[in-house]
Structure formats: structure tokens, C-alpha cells
């Protein structure tokens, strides 16, 4: 019983937004995304990134100018050659244009200085050809230089933008990431930066060279024959109009295609991940039926999008053939009436072909530039986000921390009006173990988020050794709190490096010692490259339990006086957990430890247990005291007995 196409698309298309984000672009390069709000300001700011590259940019401009002009002149050199040959054949001296006479005289003066006979045909042709070759060589060298310089310029800028963005990223408050999903932030780096890259590298070049070529060609054309120039210019709107219309249609179909593609992607993804259920419920045939429906729809939309995209080139090609035909036709008439030389016509015909190119280019670049500027605005938007508050002027460097932690009347909520923690007060003396228990959402993890200042509190105070944590240098504070979280990230690099992240100056010996403490040594040794095994993609090649052991090792290597264990062993199997118990005891020794666990056995020997419920501490005391209280903790703990 397959669903209808509309139902399917409505359901699966949304999932495409969650899809993997890469630097991937559609088959037609970056598509315009939004419009810049304040283009001028954005351009000025982008230009700021070119600081120090000014000379390079000026050189690029010079190169570009030289290249364009020399290739125009190079093309023009054909005119005197052809006319000279025509004279030789037909014996009639044609009326040359100003430019052609200039070129002619340059060739003649060159011949003069070489002592050759200026009236001979072949030496003339050869000299002109040599001159042409020389011009080409110059243009060649300049093209190369320009590409090199331009890339240095653009990549230099992009490198700066990327680095700036990354640095910024690291100093953004954790809160920022609550409101911005990974995919969205990623797209600033990938799509938006790539678009800027394309704009600087390609669009800028093609716009400048397009404008120069356009003006140059126009000048050359006008001096050759203004009548013919008019004819060519009249044909231009034809191009602009046709091209623009096609681009619009194609863009419309393109977004339809993207939607269809999203649906197909979402469908496959769900089909693969839910394959077991599909098999058990015998849904294979329905799936195939539904997939075919989505697939057919995608085919049709892709057809339209690609057809209008694909027809663009040929249409333009044909149009330029037609312009060419008209130019040659009218030019022929002009030539016979003596208004144009044969050579002039030849080069003119060439120019008329070239002429439409920069115009097309310019039209196409506008879309890219708009989308790049919009991207740049989003990038700058990230850069302008308020970073984590700076350390206070008189922030305490706290060279030695004891681990005396006091929370006094702390109230906090992630969003205004939604309090998570209410009036929490507690103290931990150095070396003590404080445990938090309570149901999900009670606010256990929030307490640890406040300790290391991922979030700053609104009411009350947190002090360490009597100093308010807002007055401690943030780096110092965090260095002094070792955290083992349920989902601590493993970085790309070797296992050794990952453990060493806990303390960057640790020796290899200490790394192994820490791994042993965390019971990670034995599994590490079983890996092919031992401690040098490369961890990829957040430890995808390790089991969840193994990753947690590495995180514990990371905490073990640090000398931080405060330790936070948030569900640190939730994914470690029970047998390993027993192994690790001893190591954990050593880990916690002489450190102020905060433990969050849902296995009650892990918290039993804590100095104090805080039972959290709806953001409040409803019971506190050690295990025995709390049992004697016969309250919530007792309920949690003794639920067991009734079942037995």
C-alpha cells in the first residue's frame, strides 16, 4: 500500500536538510543563495583581508591589462598581413583604418631598421608574424604571471578568512552552538567560504578582464569600422535576453530538482537504516514502488533543470554564428564600397565573435558575486558574534589550586524564564567526592557546565579556594578541572596524542601509565599500531566503551585538582567496569570529584550525595544517612528489593 508522491515528498524532503554537509556543490557550481544586505560594507570588509597584498593586486591588474591588450593587438596584426597579401594578389591598395596604418608603419619601420626592402611581400609577412609572435609571448608570460599572482592573492585572503573564522569559532561561547546546529556552522566554512573563494579567484578576474576586453574590443572595432560596430552592438541584447531567460528557467527547475533529490536521498537513507524492519514486515515491494515514484519524479525534474542548463551553450554558440554571419554579410558590402579592407573584415569578424563572450561572462558572474557576498555576510556574522567574555582585568592566575569548591545559592537557566537550577548550595573540600543523582532533566549536567564556565550564572556564586570563578583566568580554571563526559570528543590523531591532550607536556611513559590506570592499555596494545593507531572521525573505529576509557586516561594524565565524571563509564560493560574500579579510585584520590552516574553502586562511597529533582537539591547526605532518611534516595535504591 504505497503512499502518494506528494505525501512521500512532504515527508522525506525535510530530512535532506539533515544530510551530510560537505564542501559539495551541485553540478552547476555554486548557486545563488540569498542577496547581500549591505554589499558596500561587505566588500569594504573583504577588501580589508587583502591588506598587505595591495602590490600584488596592482601587479595582477597590470598583467591583466597587458594580456588583454596584447591579445587584442595580436589579433589585429593579422589585418596588415592579409591586406599585404591581398595587394600582392589583386594589386589594389586598399584604404586602411587608422589603427591598421599604425600597425603597418610599425612593421615597416622594423623592416627598415633590419635593412630589408619594405615593399617586398614575404619579408613583410615574416616580420609581421615575428612581431605577432613577440606580442603573443608577452601575453603568454603575463597570463602565467597573472594566474600565479592572483592565486597567491586570493588564496592568501581565503587562508586569512578561514583562520580568522576558525579562531573565532574556538572562542565562541558554548551557548552559540546550542542555537546553531553543526550543519549550519559547517556551511559557513564550506559553502560560504568556497563561494568567496570562487568570487575572488574567478569572478574578480573575469570581471576585470571582461571589462578590459569589452572596452578594448569596442575601441578596435570602432576604429576599424563604426558602421559594422553598430551592427554587432545591436545584436547584443539578443544574447543578454536569451541567456538571461534561459538562466531563469533553469534556476526555477533547479530548485525543484533539489527538492526531489532531497526526497530521494532521505528515502534511501531511511530504507537502508530501517532495512531490518522492512524485511521483517515484508515491505520490500512497497518500498520499491514508492522509490520508483520518487525516482521518476526526480528524473523529470532533473531533465528539465539540466536541459535548460545544457541548451545554454549551444544557443549562445548559434547566436554568435548568426551574428558572425550578419557581420560578414554587411562587412562584405562595406568592403566592396571601399569602406573596409579585407584584413579589417577578417579581424572584425574575429572580434564580433569575441565581443559577446565578456558580456555573457559578466551576466553570469553577477549571480556568483551576489551569492558570495551574501555568504561573506554570513561569515562576518559569525565573526561578529560576541565571544566568551574576556577575563577580568584583575583575573587571578591561581598558580596553585587546592580544589575547595563552594556553590552558593546558584540559580541558572539556559534560556531566560526557564530556570533549570534553583538555589543550589553545596561545598566540596579538597579530595572529597560529591555525587549527583536524580532523573533525566533534573539538572545534574548543568551543574558541571557551570563549574567550568561554559555558561555564566545569573544568581549566586561559585568559588574555588575562595575566589569567584568569574575572577579566575578562564584557561587556568579549565586546566584545573579535568572532565570526563559521556560523549567526550576524540580528535583526529594517534591514541597517544589524544591521551596527551589531557596534559600537553606529558611524557610517553606517563601516557602509558594513564592508559593503564584507565584500563585502556590492554585494548590499545591489541590494536594494530598500539599507541600510534590513528583515530579518525571522532573515534568511529573504536567502541563507545573504548572511547570512554581513553577519555578517562586523558583525565588521569592531567594533574587537575578537580575532576568531573559525567556518566563517565555508562558505555563500559560491567566486567570492564569492575576492572576499572581500582583505577578510578586512584584517579579520584586527592582530587575534588563531582560524579554523575545512574549506576547507584558508583556513587555509594561518595562523601556526599545530592539528590536533584526539578533543579533543586531535595536530599543530601552520605549513602547511609540517605537510606536512613527513607526519602527519594531510599526509594531509588530499594526499588530492587521488592522485585526480588
Amino acid at each position: 500500500m504505497a503512499r502518494t508522491l506528494e505525501q512521500l515528498q512532504a515527508r522525506y524532503n525535510s530530512s535532506s536538510k539533515k544530510g551530510p554537509q560537505g564542501g559539495g556543490r551541485g553540478p552547476h557550481g555554486p548557486r545563488p543563495q540569498g542577496k547581500p544586505k549591505n554589499a558596500k560594507q561587505t566588500i569594504a570588509r573583504l577588501a580589508g583581508y587583502a591588506h598587505g597584498f595591495e602590490w600584488r593586486f596592482i601587479l595582477v591588474l597590470i598583467c591583466m591589462l597587458t594580456t588583454t591588450v596584447s591579445s587584442l593587438i595580436g589579433g589585429y596584426m593579422l589585418a596588415p598581413i592579409i591586406d599585404r597579401l591581398t595587394v600582392a594578389v589583386t594589386g589594389r591598395e586598399p584604404e586602411m583604418s587608422v589603427l591598421e596604418r599604425a600597425a603597418d608603419s610599425v612593421v615597416r619601420s622594423l623592416m627598415n631598421s633590419a635593412g630589408a626592402d619594405t615593399t617586398a611581400v614575404m619579408p613583410y609577412v615574416i616580420t609581421a608574424a615575428l612581431l605577432l609572435g613577440a606580442i603573443y609571448l608577452v601575453s603568454l608570460a603575463m597570463t602565467y604571471l597573472q594566474a600565479r599572482l592572483m592565486l597567491g592573492f586570493s588564496q592568501g585572503m581565503i587562508e586569512r578568512i578561514r583562520n580568522d573564522l576558525f579562531t573565532k569559532l574556538q572562542h565562541l561561547p558554548v551557548r552559540y552552538f546550542d542555537g546553531h546546529p553543526t550543519g549550519e556552522v559547517m556551511s559557513r566554512f564550506t559553502n560560504d567560504v568556497d563561494n568567496i573563494d570562487v568570487m575572488i579567484n574567478n569572478s574578480l578576474t573575469s570581471i576585470i578582464s571582461g571589462v578590459v576586453t569589452l572596452l578594448g574590443t569596442l575601441t578596435f572595432m570602432l576604429t576599424t569600422s563604426w558602421i559594422l560596430t553598430m551592427v554587432t552592438v545591436v545584436c547584443i541584447p539578443l544574447f543578454a535576453f536569451g541567456g538571461g531567460a534561459l538562466a531563469r528557467i533553469s534556476r526555477k527547475y533547479y530548485s525543484a530538482q533539489q527538492a526531489a533529490l532531497g526526497a530521494v536521498n532521505g528515502y534511501i537513507e531511511e530504507n537502508v537504516t530501517g532495512q531490518k524492519v522492512i524485511k521483517v514486515f515484508n515491505h520490500e515491494d512497497t518500498c520499491v514502488e514508492e522509490f520508483c515514484m520518487l525516482n521518476d519524479d526526480m528524473r523529470d525534474k532533473q531533465f528539465n533543470a539540466n536541459f535548460y542548463g545544457g541548451i545554454m551553450g549551444p544557443v549562445m554558440g548559434n547566436m554568435s554564428q548568426i551574428t558572425y554571419g550578419i557581420t560578414v554579410g554587411v562587412g562584405g558590402v562595406l568592403m566592396l564600397s571601399g569602406l573596409l579592407t579585407p584584413g579589417g573584415l577578417t579581424v572584425f569578424a574575429g572580434y564580433s565573435r569575441q565581443f559577446s563572450m565578456p558580456i555573457n561572462q559578466l551576466a553570469q558572474q553577477m549571480a556568483t558575486i551576489f551569492s558570495a557576498l551574501a555568504g561573506a555576510e554570513r561569515v562576518f556574522d559569525v565573526m561578529d558574534t560576541e565571544p566568551e567574555a574576556k577575563d577580568a582585568e584583575n583575573a587571578d592566575p591561581m598558580p596553585h589550586m587546592e580544589g575547595n569548591v563552594v556553590l552558593d545559592n546558584v540559580t541558572f537557566g539556559y534560556v531566560p524564564d526557564k530556570t533549570i537550577l534553583k538555589h543550589i548550595s553545596l561545598y566540596a573540600k579538597p579530595g572529597q567526592k560529591i555525587a549527583f543523582v536524580g532523573s533525566t532533566g533534573a539538572g545534574k549536567t548543568t551543574v558541571t557546565n557551570l563549574l567550568n564556565r561554559f555558561y555564566d550564572i545569573e544568581e549566586g556564586s561559585i568559588t574555588i579556594d575562595g575566589v569567584d570563578i568569574r575572577n579566575i583566568k578562564r584557561d587556568v580554571l579549565r586546566e584545573n578541572i579535568a572532565m570526563v563526559l559521556q560523549d567526550t570528543h576524540l580528535f583526529t590523531g594517534t591514541i597517544r596524542e589524544n591521551i596527551r591532550y589531557g596534559r600537553l607536556d606529558a611524557t610517553d611513559e606517563e601516557v602509558i601509565q594513564a592508559a593503564k590506570t584507565a584500563s585502556a592499555h590492554s585494548f590499545i596494545m591489541r590494536l594494530a599500531d598500539g599507541y600510534d593507531t590513528i583515530i579518525e572521525g571522532d573515534g568511529a573505529n573504536l567502541s563507545q566503551g573504548q572511547r570512554q576509557l581513553l577519555n578517562i586516561a586523558r583525565a588521569a594524565i592531567s594533574k587537575a585538582p578537580i575532576l568531573v565524571l559525567d556518566e563517565a563509564t555508562s558505555s563500559v560493560d560491567t566486567r570492564t567496569e569492575r576492572h576499572i574500579e581500582h583505577g578510578m579510585d586512584r584517579l579520584m584520590k586527592n582530587r575534588t570529584t563531582f560524579v554523575i552516574a545512574h549506576r547507584l553502586s558508583t556513587v555509594r562511597n561518595a562523601n556526599a550525595i545530592m539528590v536533584l529533582e526539578h533543579g533543586e537539591i531535595i536530599e543530601r547526605g552520605n549513602h547511609d544517612e540517605l537510606l536512613a532518611l527513607k526519602g527519594r534516595y531510599y526509594e531509588l535504591y530499594t526499588g530492587v528489593k521488592e522485585l526480588d
Binding site: G23, E269, F281, Q321, G329, L636, V640
Partner: protein
């Protein structure tokens, strides 16, 4: 991921460029393809002969100074341009059609084939990998049979026509120009190969940077707690610098390529000017002919680059063809014998009228089993009779191999040796579909599909009425979920049931399994913590569900385990003990140890959540 990525860069050599593999897909569109090639060759040929018009114009209008034929000339020219435009239009249509239709067929075949593959394929390949086979490989092949082929035809025809025109008009000058061709081809090929390599390196660096950024975002909390921002920042700067270097290097070669190409044209042009000039002054050749040679010389590099590019494009797609054909040719490890298909039908055409009712007696008879991707025998000469209506609980540590028996009952895998008997007959004697239609499965991580609650519950019984659905929800005490939802059964529950808690999803998936009233029920209990209300509902649901049904439960809850008719204790992939709770406690073996060690944890986990 890494190994999958490296796959992209592999050079694959297939016989006849993979054409025999693709033939079945192209066959359908033979006519379109022939039209595409013919018209493509024609259009490109016309492109190649445009300079002939030039020659005519120069020779007649300039050389002979008559305008007699001018109107005819213009009409002819415009006519040819118009015909070319029409052909072009048709050609692009054919080409796009070829691409999209082949692409669709490839995707359909891949998808349908995937439905027939056994679960082991899905276990061994990541979602991303499978997805790429269906989407990107098909896409690349679609491009190959259309635009890539077209490129080859286009430039091939162009070059051919140009050669013919040159040789016919002036063979001496033609030979001089043609002599340059091999050099140009070699140079372009060398450069392109180099550029391909360099571009690959840039792409690699690009993905490294993307990975860096991804890590910077997903690992932001860890980075901050470890205070390693500076280290990461330096690392990132190194990577962007390397990117800079590689890009510059690539541009260097790209610019050199452009320069070389321009140089080749210039050389060709100078040859034409020199020798052609001599010929013209000697009146051996007309100026118009010279103009043809000049245009060809100036534009000689496009076709060369085009054809080299087309060929390297075709070579690059070989790896996609190879991977695609590997998917299509992967045999499911579990399939029905021909005689079974004959009687019971297949996935797409089941013959339900021949299906016997399934009672639910299951017997493992001397079963030996190892997983296709492993050597170690998980079961050896295993025997177990499960009478109809028995509840079997399978217990053991994570990773001990508890799912093996379940996988065999569901026929996700077949025994390596021995038999699984269902109602006294070998499971392989009847069709997979028959078995699955009598089987309910509740997964540990319940998978719900995008759609409404009704759609999801009806998954196992497409014709279920709302009463039946409500009844099954009531049976598992899941009414409270419906009460919460404002649209009742019509509530959309996003991809994978996004707006429900794990416990609620599990309840719905139990209801889904019960709706079809299966004779056998498989239940993989969730280990994750669940809030108390839902937990109670689940416990109740499970006890209702297994009543009067043969059931296999991968159990974590004490209540489920203790009440089971048979408990199987699995350790390191082997079944080490079996019996009832009482028997096993008396035996003081592995179960006793596991029970006494874990029971506290288990219950505490469940209670606290």
C-alpha cells in the same frame, strides 16, 4: 570512511570500458543514443566547416569583387545555422534524456536489488557507502552515457572534418599543421595527468580542512575543557597553509598548460603565415584558403583539449561502473530455492494462497554457525526445541552474541551446518516472506518511519482498521501516547520518530508488532534508561505480548528474565547454560554469577533512569 574515500582514486580497467556491463541499461534507449551520436557528429561537423564560408566570402566577394552571390550566400549561411540550431536542440534533448533516463533505471535497479540483499550486506557496509552506490555511481554512469560520450563524438567528428577540409583544400600546408598535432596531444595529455593528480591533492586537503572544522564544531566542549584551543588553532593554520601551497602548485601547472596551448597555436599560426604566405604570393593558394588555415590554427587547441578531457573523463568513470556492477552482482546470502519460489512466490509476487499457517514450534537441529565475515564458530552442534508458546530469554553481556539465535530464527542468516525447523519443517522449505509475515520483531533501537502514527502501526498489516490499531495500542497500554498527540493517529512522527522518547518508540513498535498478530515474536529489549511511567507500560506490554506466542527475547529486565520458560546464557559467543531461573540459580554457574553481580545494577538502572 577513509578506505571508502581512497576507493575514488583507484584506477580500474574494465573490458571495453565497461560497455558490456552497461549495455542492458543502454539497450532500452538505443534509438535515442543513435540519434544523439548522429546529430552530435553532424552539428559538430557543421561547426568545423564554418570557415569554408569565410573562404568563399574572401575568394568571391573580395578576390573577385562581385556581390552577385551575396544574397544566396547569406541565405545559405543562415539556413545552415538554423538547421544546426534545430539539430542542436534535438541533440541536447536526447543527451539530457539519455542521462536522466539511464540514471533513473540504474537507481531503480540498485534500489530494488538492495531490497533483496540479506542483512549481512547492510551490516558490512555503511549507510553512506550504500547511498553513494545508488546515487553518485548511477549519476556518474548517467553522465558517461550522455555528455561524456557526446564530448568524444563531438570533438572526434570536429577533428575529423577539420583534417579532411585541410587535406582537401591544401594537403601540403595541411601536413605541416598536422605534424604539430601529436606534439600537442602529448603535451596536453601530460599536463592533464599532472593536473589531475594535483587536483586530487587539493581535494584531499580540502576534506582535511573540512574535517578540521567539523571537529572544531562537534568537539568544541572537549576542546574548551582541555584548553587546547591554541594547539588546534595552530594545527588548523598549518592545514590552511598547506592548502595554499597545493593550490598555488596546481595553478602553476594550469597556467603552464594554458601557456603551452597558446604557444602551440602561435606556432601553428606562424607556420600557416609563413608557408601559406609564400604559397599565396606565389599564387599557388587562394587567400580564402589561407584564412581557413588561419582559423583552424588559432582554434586547434580546443578540440585537442576536448578529446583528451573526454577520454580521461571516461577513464575516471570506470571505477563507478565497477562499483555499481559489484553491487548489482552481489548475491543475497539468504534466498529462497527455486522450487520454494515456485510454490510460495517471491518478494514482489507472493502466492499467499499456498501459505500454510505457522504455529510457532521452532527447533534448532545440530546447528553450527559462523558469521560470513568471521571465522569463529558462534554455534557448534547446537540443539534446542522450542515448543509452541514458549518464552525464551537470552541473557549475557553486551557483545556476547545474543542476537545470533534471533538472526537465525528470522533467517537474516542461514545456519552454516544443520537446520532450523519451523513446525517440524526446515525453514528453507518455505519462503522468507511466509516466515516474516508470521513474525513480529521489536528492535532494541526501534525504527519508526517518516509518516503518521497510523502509517507506522499499519506497517505490518496494511489493511488494519483504526479500531484494530487502537486496540493494539490499548493492549500495550500506549493509549497515553495518543492522548499527548494533538492529531491522534494522524500525528506525524518525523524521520525515525523524532518527537517521541525512546521508551515511547519502543511501545509503538511493540504495538506495531502485535497488530499483525504474529505467531513468533522477537524482542530485543532496550538497555537505555527510560522514565518510570513508560517503563511500567513497557513491562506490561511485554508480558501481554508474549502470552500464547513463541517468543525470543534478548532480555535485560529482571522481570522478563525470571518469568521466561527457558533462559539461555550466552558468553563469548557460545551458549554456556540453559534452564529456568530456578534451575540455573541452583546450578550456581555463569547465570548465578551474572545474576548476583548484575541484578542490583539492572534494577537500579531501570529505576533511576
Amino acid at each position: 570512511m577513509a578506505s571508502e574515500n581512497k576507493d575514488e582514486n583507484k584506477n580500474v580497467k574494465l573490458p571495453f570500458f565497461g560497455f558490456p556491463i552497461l549495455w542492458p541499461f543502454i539497450k532500452k534507449y538505443k534509438a535515442t543514443m543513435i540519434w544523439m551520436i548522429t546529430l552530435g557528429a553532424l552539428v559538430s561537423g557543421v561547426d568545423a566547416i564554418y570557415p569554408l564560408f569565410n573562404r568563399y566570402a574572401i575568394n568571391h566577394f573580395i578576390g573577385e569583387k562581385t556581390l552577385d552571390t551575396l544574397p544566396l550566400f547569406i541565405i545559405g549561411y543562415v539556413l545552415i545555422a538554423a538547421v544546426q540550431a534545430a539539430c542542436n536542440f534535438r541533440n541536447v534533448t536526447d543527451c539530457t534524456k539519455m542521462e536522466m533516463y539511464t540514471n533513473r533505471d540504474l537507481r531503480n535497479s540498485a534500489f530494488s536489488h538492495l531490497q533483496e540483499l540479506s542483512l549481512s550486506y547492510y551490516n558490512q557496509n555503511s549507510v553512506g557507502y550504500i547511498h553513494a552506490r545508488v546515487m553518485s555511481d548511477s549519476g556518474k554512469i548517467g553522465e558517461l552515457v550522455s555528455w561524456r560520450t557526446m564530448d568524444l563524438v563531438w570533438w572526434g567528428s570536429y577533428i575529423l572534418i577539420v583534417l579532411v577540409v585541410m587535406l582537401v583544400t591544401n594537403w601540403k600546408l595541411a601536413l605541416l599543421v598536422i605534424a604539430l598535432l601529436p606534439i600537442a596531444v602529448i603535451l596536453v595529455t601530460l599536463f592533464q595527468r599532472k593536473l589531475l593528480k594535483l587536483n586530487r591533492k587539493v581535494r584531499e586537503m580540502n576534506s582535511t580542512i573540512t574535517a578540521d572544522i567539523n571537529e572544531g564544531i562537534t568537539g568544541v566542549k572537549s576542546m574548551k575543557t582541555l584548553v587546547v584551543e591554541d594547539k588546534m588553532g595552530r594545527h588548523f593554520n598549518e592545514d590552511t597553509l598547506e592548502m595554499y601551497r597545493r593550490s598555488v602548485r596546481t595553478t602553476h601547472y594550469a597556467a603552464l598548460l594554458t601557456a603551452t596551448i597558446t604557444l602551440m597555436s602561435a606556432v601553428a599560426l606562424s607556420i600557416v603565415l609563413w608557408k601559406g604566405g609564400e604559397m599565396t604570393t606565389a599564387r599557388v593558394m587562394e587567400i580564402g584558403t589561407m584564412s581557413i588555415f588561419m582559423s583552424y590554427a588559432l582554434g586547434m587547441i580546443d578540440p585537442i583539449q576536448g578529446i583528451v578531457g573526454a577520454i580521461s573523463g571516461i577513464i575516471a568513470v570506470q571505477v563507478n561502473i565497477e562499483r555499481y556492477s559489484r553491487l548489482i552482482n552481489t548475491e543475497g546470502e539468504v534466498y529462497d530455492r527455486p522450487d520454494v519460489v515456485e510454490k510460495y512466490g517471491d518478494t514482489f509476487e507472493p502466492k499467499r494462497e499456498n501459505w500454510e499457517p505457522l504455529h510457532g514450534e521452532i527447533e534448532f537441529k545440530d546447528v553450527t554457525f559462523h558469521y560470513p565475515d568471521g571465522e569463529e564458530k558462534v554455534l557448534e552442534h547446537f540443539n534446542l526445541l522450542v515448543p509452541q508458546g514458549t518464552n525464551v530469554a537470552i541473557v549475557g553481556e553486551t557483545g556476547a552474541g545474543k542476537s545470533t539465535l534471533v538472526n537465525l530464527v528470522c533467517r537474516f542468516f542461514e545456519p552454516t551446518e544443520g537446520q532450523v525447523l519451523i513446525d517440524g519443517r526446515d525453514a528453507r522449505d518455505r519462503s522468507l516472506q511466509w516466515l516474516h509475515s508470521n513474525l513480529g520483531y521489536v528492535l532494541q533501537t526501534p525504527h519508526l518511519f517518516s509518516g503518521t502514527i497510523r502509517d507506522n502501526l499499519r506497517y505490518g498489516k496494511p489493511d488494519a482498521t483504526d479500531e484494530e490499531i487502537l486496540h493494539s495500542l490499548h493492549m500495550v497500554s500506549a493509549d497515553f501516547i495518543l492522548d499527548k498527540m494533538k492529531d491522534g493517529l494522524d500525528t506525524e512522527i518525523g524521520e525515525g520518530g523524532d518527537f517521541l522518547s525512546t521508551g515511547e518508540k519502543q511501545l509503538l513498535s511493540i504495538a506495531r508488532a502485535l497488530l499483525a498478530d504474529p505467531a513468533i515474536l522477537i524482542l530485543d529489549e532496550a538497555t537505555s534508561s527510560i522514565d518510570t511511567v513508560t517503563e511500567k507500560a513497557i513491562q506490561h506490554a511485554i508480558s501481554t505480548a508474549i502470552e500464547n506466542r513463541t517468543s525470543f527475547m534478548i532480555a535485560h529486565r529482571l522481570s522478563t528474565i525470571v518469568n521466561a520458560d527457558v533462559i539461555l546464557v550466552v558468553s563469548e559467543g557460545k551458549i554456556v547454560e540453559r534452564g529456568t531461573h530456578k534451575e540455573l540459580m541452583k546450578a550456581k554457574g555463569a547465570y548465578y554469577e551474572l545474576y548476583t553481580r548484575q541484578y542490583e545494577e539492572l534494577v537500579v538502572n531501570n529505576e533511576i533512569g
